[in-house]
Symmetry: C2
Subunit: 108 residues, 2 copies
Amino acid sequence: MIAATPAPPYLAVIFSSQRTAGDRGYDAMAERMVDLAKTQPGFLGVESVRDAEGFGITVSYWKDEGSIAAWKAHAEHAVAQRLGRDQWYGAFRLRVCRVERESGQGGL
Amino acid sequence: MIAATPAPPYLAVIFSSQRTAGDRGYDAMAERMVDLAKTQPGFLGVESVRDAEGFGITVSYWKDEGSIAAWKAHAEHAVAQRLGRDQWYGAFRLRVCRVERESGQGGL
């Protein structure tokens, strides 16, 4: 579940969110968005975790700003973003970052 | 639980990890490290989540490279890092990033 990203530099989008109560189609859409993101140009990987209280962090990794912009503008993703803002998330924060270095062990 | 970080730029350390089975002192140390990190110069915030399968993402936010380096070198944190490498984590990845922009709604 740790993304096998290439050597830096590349970009990371850190999406931190608190879910509202009830599913209301969220789980199916979240799964669909991950599957769809994986097919996008410039996609490098994704890591995602949510706890039992509904707090989650999803980090997606991208080649460049163009690939992030294209994914943000994707029609199906735009629908999911609107539903997220209006229904699924009580709060969220999205941070776009440039990964400068990395280290670790195991699991890739 | 969403960190109320200042306006970018600032730095983010994305720590993705898979826990080994059994606690072996992990939970107490993890809580202590968060409490200790919060007292360090340049600390801006932290978000952390781990699921029932032991996969977790912790993102800590820092003012600059100097504050990250000082925290990495902190004596008590160095002990925790060694235990993490040797016992607590089956795999981990640490990525140091520069946050360039952010957006969101609610919860701050």
